[in-house]
Every structure is written in C-alpha cells, then in structure tokens.
Amino acid sequence: MVSIEDYGNYETAWCPGCGDFAILKAVKQALVASGLEPHQVLFVSGIGQAAKAPHYLNANVFNGLHGRSLPVATGAKLSNPGLTVIVESGDGCIYGEGGNHFLAAIRRNIDVTVLAHNNQVYGLTKGQASPTSDKGFVTKAQPEGVLAEPFNPIAVSVAMGAGFVARGFSGMVDHVAGLIQQAIAHRGLSLVDILQPCVSFNKVNTFAWYKKRCTILPDAYDPTDWEAAMKVAREWGERIPIGVIYRNDRPAFEGQFSVLSEGALVGRDVDGAALARIVDGFA
C-alpha cells in the first residue's frame, strides 16, 4: 500500500504562507487515495512558482517551458497511455502563455489532469497581472488597473464541453484533495482550478477574501446538467462556487487511436514486412 511518506517531504522555494503548500499536501493525499505509486505518475509543469510543485514530491517529472506543459503532457500520454499524467502549473502558465494549448487539450479530451494554481497574479516575476486578475487590479505593470476582462477558465471549459471541470480553494485541503482524486479517476481531460492566495503580490484576493466567498456546491447540484453548469461557471463575486461544476463522459482522446489498442508506443519493433510492402508501393 502506498502512503504519504512514499511521496516524500522536501524543502521548497515558496514564501511562507503560500497557498502552494496546501495544494502540495492535497496532491499527495489524492495520489495516495488513488492508490498510485510514484513511478506510475508523470507530472508535467511549466514555469512559475506553482510549476515548481512537482519537484517537491516523488514522481516522474518533466518540468518544461512556460505555457507548454499541456502539449508535453499530451505527447507523453499518447506515447504511453499507461502513465497517469498530471499537469501542474499556474494561471499565467496554463491560461495565458499556454492558452491555445488549453483550448486544444479540452477539444482533444486527452486523459490528463490539469491542476491550475490560480492566485490571480504573477508570483515568480513579482506581481504583474495574470489572465485571471480582476478588472481594475492595480500592479506596477498595470498602474491604472487591469483594463481587460479576466479569463474565466471554468466558463470556457464548460462552454467547450470539457470532460471534468472543478474549482477548489487551497484553504480547504481535504476538499481539494477529493476534487483531485476525482479528476485523476476521470477518463479524459480534467481541470481543477485551485484558488489560492499569493501572500507576496496579491493584497486584494487574500486568504480571507477567498475564504469568505468560496462556497461548496450543494449535494443536490447536478454537474451533468450543462446549462446549470454554465450558470454556476459565471458566478464570481460575493459567492464563488467550488466543487465539481461540470462533467460528462466524452471518449478520451487516446482511446480513439487504433494503434494504442496494443498499448504504449514504447519499445515496439519495426514491422519489416509491412514496411517492405510500403516500399513496394513506390515501384
């Protein structure tokens, strides 16, 4: 049986009080609850404070470029569908720099779990606006406040019919862990957008700010009802709904490739006779 200790305990480069600590804890809990051994899991991350998270646990890790975690994860999953592939990065990385890949990943419905640490600000580069910063949010780079409307990852995902869309809050570790566990179990693209404070650079959306607003969806809520989900997805203000907002059972991308019915693309030999027939076709 796998235990929390198997996932290790490492010193981090995060600020004291950062929401990342709670998310790291929730991730480990979810992995253990999913019965996954470290070597069965591949974390792919980009660049940012959140993207460092996979370095602080035991697993296979590909810490790639800013914004590009989803394509790497997609390639790895297609190469070896047996891997549990988890993308972990921040709002700037996944929704900003990697925005096009985010949309494409939802369209493909590749079986990858996306953990988006969403603190509505750039931490590693010291406090510029992120795609999810609220309008009017003032930073050194946006002295007159953010002029653009924020990107709503939940609404976009639901609108596109993503397979699994959830939102959590780092202040509720067990709840987040439960969402991550469900996301991992889901076959297809799963998004867990995790709201978290940035103690150094976001003085507006603080721990208390989120805590006051984040409200778990009632038990009666039906996440398979797309229209209800669209409504919930657009809620942002005095009440911020958290929980599984939408889910469906679209077929996963990799399951539709006939070549993958024989398993991973890894370690296969070239079928010389088949290739010789292809060569013959040029004669």
């Binding site: 394509p71 994860a73 790895a76 297609l78 190469s79 030999d269 060569v279």
Partner: protein
C-alpha cells in the same frame, strides 16, 4: 546539356490535373527504366494561376533539372506564351487545337475529340507517352492503379481517352525522337524527397510525428499519416508549431522515437522547444524543408537560406547535427542517421531540405528495409544500479536514459538547470558541470560526421563547393566544364554541422579557384566554412529567386 537527356515541361492552371499527368508520366517513365529529375513549380493557390511540372528524363543517371525544354505540353494558352522561349530549336510544343495559337514546331491536338470534357489531361498523357515511345499497356496499367479506387466508369473513360490519344498520335509527324529503349528495365522506385524522409523515419522506428501544415514540409507528415495504422505510429496535427515540438518532446521523453516537420516560419516558433530538447536531453528529429523567406516569403518556392537559422536556433549552448541531403536516397539514409544520433546523443538533430528536393521525384533503387536496424529508445533498466539519476554526469556526456513508468525508477528532468537527478538547482558548480557534460557530446558527434564528398581532378583549376539540394546541378555543371577540357573538381557537403576542417581543408587549398554554389543571397555556407576553417571562399554562385539551381544557371554565373 546532355545529349541523352530530354526535358518535358507540362504547364497549366492549378486544378487542371497537371500533377496527375506529371506523376503518371513520371511513373511510366521509371517503370520503363528511365532516370528522371522532376521539378515542380507552383503558386500558393488551389485553383488558377500558373504551375509547371517538369520531368527531365534519360536512360542514363541524371541528377539535375534542366532549363531548356524539349517538349512543352501546354494545358492552357498561357503555358505557350510563358514558356515558348525556353523550347529548344529541335523541340516541340504540344497544345490544344482550340487555343488557336500558331507556333512552330507544334502539335495541335484535338483534345476534346480524344477525351471528352473531363479527361483532357489523360489525352495529354497519351499523346506525350506516344511521342516518347512508351508502351501503351504499361502507361494504361499505371493509370489504372492510380485511379483504381475511383468508380469503374472513370477508369474506363480514362482508358478510352488514352487509347484514342495513342492512336491519333501515331499518324502525326513529330520532330521529337523517341527515347532510346531500355531493355529489361530494373525495378526502381519513384519517390520524392519528402516521401523518402517519411520512409527513412519509418525504417528508423518513428512512433510519433507532430506537425502543423506548412508548405513544403506537409507531405512528410501526410505520408506518415497514411501509414500510421499499418506501422503503429501516431501522427498528430498540433494547434501550432509550439505545441508540435513540445508534444514531440513529451512523446519522446515517454519513449516514442519522435520527429517534427516544418518550414522556416514554423521552425521559428519551435526555437524554444529546440532548446528544451537539448536541456532535457530528449531525442528529437527536426525536419526543416526550406522555402524563401523572410516571413511568409515565397511559400511554394525553394531556397537554402535557413542554414544559419537552423544552426543557431535555440537559446543557450548545446551540440547538434545538421544533415542536408542532396538526393532522394540521402533523404532516406540521413533521416535514419538523424534518428540514430538523436537517440544516442539525446538531443535535437536536424534535417535541412528544401521545396525543390521535397517535391522532386526521382528513380531510386529499392531500399532493403528489412535489413535495416531501427532505433530503440532508452537504456535497459538493468544498466542502472542504485538510485537513478536521469542526468548522471558521465565521461562522454551521455547519461543512461530510462523511460517514465517503465520501471520503479523515477525519471525527472527540468528546463531549468538541474542536478544529476533532474531537479531544479541554482548551485553554480553544478551548472558548470552540466554545461560541460552536455557539450562533451559534441566530441563524439564530431567523430561521426559524414565527410564531404570530393570528386574530380585532385589538382583542379576550379572547385565547386555545394551543400544539400544544389548537389546535382553542381555535379552536372562540373561535368560540362570538364568536357571543355577544364580541370574541375566538386566538394559536396551532406552534413553541414558540425564541420571537421581536416576532412576538407586540403581540398580547398589544393584548388585553383573555389566557388561556393548555394541557394541564398549571402553565401551562408561559404561564411560558415570561413568561420570554421579561416578559408575564404570569395567566389559564389548564389540563387535566391525561388527557383532551383540548375547547371545552366551555374555556367552562366561562372562566365560573368
């Protein structure tokens, strides 16, 4: 140029079935035992405009295209106006009698009568095949195979048009000499550069190819896609080139030998990914099929102007190899080589071709694919003792590569500078060790460089240096000069990086005059040779109008 070569140029609008005629004629010629060099010139549009498909054919081995035309096949009036000046004195223009164009010598064909409305291109195929003396049944079989999947009625209509055209042609006087017959034609393949790259990749064991459509590279991925199920690989069209290269890196990291194919503009978007493959030491084959830039440039034409770009693409310092095939056979073999090196040296390896070679059909000897070895990704788990470190410092710079999820070992890598176990670090002594480790691979890469090929007189008056697809034209220009009693040598590079000066500096120094022939405006390869050897190549034959370098072009430039 060569008395034994015959140049056919088929001209028409996009959408007229020009490429179909060209390919059917080419295939029939290859099956009849001839060598050929095809040049395709097309505009960036799907209908209309003016396109040409030229086939230079010979019973002897030929390697270059030719400018002067022996047989002009005009599928539209514009083709006559645009190309009649190119027609050789003893050449012929084949055109539709309905054009009402008077020219001499020309063969006015009643295409409508021979083929009905729909298969004018098939009638043209029949007329040309008959003029060249091809066997009607062989051409008909080739055509049937091509249209085989269409409905039987189309097949019958086409056969009918072909027969009528052959018969009509037999009664016509023609100044064109039939091709000398090849007895017992050997079995050869008709293949262009992109097809050979796809086949080379399949034989090397490619399992993953991602791409974003971009002329002239697209058909590499399409060729792989059409064989994906049969050969067990995935071909994925990415949302952009950035996704494409990152996907391939992810697939390769997880154990699938991977490649991407693109052209200059798409490669520009991939540059950061190239650097990522190097830093994470992930095997990757990158094919860049060049077209004229800057920016969108001439999207469907040819150029060799991305050498400097591919050589330097990607921030930071890391080793790489760049192959530049000069023939279709080299496209096959050097693709295999790129896969092998990518796996052994764990990093990005490049193949640099161009539109001319990508689209140029040739007759090639069949590859004995069943005898060729494929690459195998990753090291054996048994090779690893104790705790696994993906980026372990080794004497030759190559660390044992395990694949994630294939053992209990954890495989960790990072685009940040990392420790031996793959984790992010800012320990600057580790940094130095890692830089040195990565660069140590270069020493072994150098030992495995494909040497340039020197031909001709050792003590030459003139030495023509070429790289990539300019090889054929350079060889033929040299042989022409030799026939004029000049001492001429050639030096061809099919690997343009890294360069090993000891392999060729002697040849450069021994020549009277050295001329570098390349398809760009600044002499990029000449500059690279100077940088690496200190040997200046002042005289250059440079072409950058979007057309392939021809022997005639080289000879004209040399006269100036």
């Amino acid at each position: 140029m060569r008395p034994n070569a015959f140049n056919i140029l088929i001209g028409g609008e996009a959408g007229q079935g020009l490429v179909t005629v060209g390919q059917l004629l080419s295939k029939s010629l290859v099956r009849s035992g001839y060598y050929l060099v095809v040049t395709q010139d097309y505009q960036s549009r799907i209908r209309g405009g003016h396109n040409t498909f030229s086939i230079r054919v010979s019973p002897e081995q030929i390697v270059a295209p030719q400018e002067s035309v022996d047989l002009l096949v005009a599928l539209n009036p514009e083709s006559v106006t645009l190309h009649r000046e190119q027609v050789a004195p003893e050449g012929l223009i084949v055109l539709d009698e309905s054009f009402g164009i008077a020219c001499d010598p020309c063969l006015n064909v009643p295409f409508k009568e021979l083929s009905g409305r729909r298969s004018a291109n098939i009638a043209a195929l029949g007329v040309v095949s008959s003029l060249l003396g091809l066997d009607r049944e062989l051409v008909a079989r080739t055509m049937d195979e091509f249209f085989g999947k269409k409905d039987p009625k189309t097949v019958e209509q086409n056969r009918d048009a072909l027969t009528k055209s052959f018969q009509w042609c037999e009664g016509q006087p023609s100044p064109v000499q039939k091709l000398s017959r090849v007895e017992n034609p050997p079995r050869r393949l008709m293949m262009n550069g992109n097809e050979a790259i796809a086949l080379g990749a399949l034989s090397a064991g490619v399992r993953f190819c991602s791409f974003y459509p971009m002329t002239p590279s697209t058909s590499i991925a399409l060729n792989l896609a059409s064989r994906a199920q049969q050969m067990g690989l995935i071909v994925e069209q990415g949302e952009d080139e950035i996704a494409v290269i990152n996907m391939a890196i992810g697939a390769s990291f997880a154990g699938a030998p991977s490649m991407v194919s693109t052209s200059g503009g798409g490669f520009a978007l991939m540059a950061e990914g190239v650097s990522l493959a190097a830093m994470t030491e992930t095997p990757l084959v990158v094919v860049v099929a060049q077209r004229p830039g800057p920016a969108t440039g001439l999207p469907t034409r040819t150029e060799q102007a991305d050498l400097g770009f591919v050589l330097h693409a990607g921030h930071g310092e890391f080793p790489r190899a760049i192959f530049a095939p000069g023939t279709v056979e080299e496209c096959f073999h050097l693709t295999r080589r790129a896969f092998e090196l990518a796996e052994r040296f764990q990093g990005p390896m490049f193949l640099l071709t161009d539109q001319f070679l990508a689209d140029s059909f040739r007759a090639v000897m069949p590859f004995d694919v069943e005898q060729l070895a494929a690459v195998h990704a990753g090291a054996e788990v048994g090779d690893v003792s104790g705790s696994y470190r993906r980026h372990a410092i080794t004497e030759n710079g190559v660390s044992p590569r395990l694949l994630p999820g294939m053992s209990d070992h954890l495989v960790v890598t990072d685009s940040d500078e990392h420790t031996e176990d793959g984790h992010i670090t800012e320990d600057l002594s580790v940094r130095n060790q890692m830089v040195q480790k990565r660069l140590r691979k270069r020493e072994r890469l150098l030992r495995e460089v494909v040497p340039p090929k020197a031909d001709g007189d050792e003590k030459s008056d003139i030495l023509l240096v070429s790289w990539g697809s300019s090889r054929g034209a350079t060889y033929e220009a040299a042989s022409h000069l030799r026939s004029n009693a000049r001492r001429v040598a050639t030096l061809h590079f099919s690997q343009v990086w890294p360069l090993v000066p000891e392999q060729f500096v002697g040849v450069l120094r021994g020549a009277g005059e050295v001329v570098c022939v390349e398809g760009n405006a600044t002499g990029q390869f000449a500059q690279l040779v100077y940088r690496e050897t200190g040997f200046p190549i002042e005289k250059r034959v440079l072409r950058y109008d979007g057309l392939p370098i021809t022997p005639e072009f080289i000879l004209r430039e040399l006269k100036q």
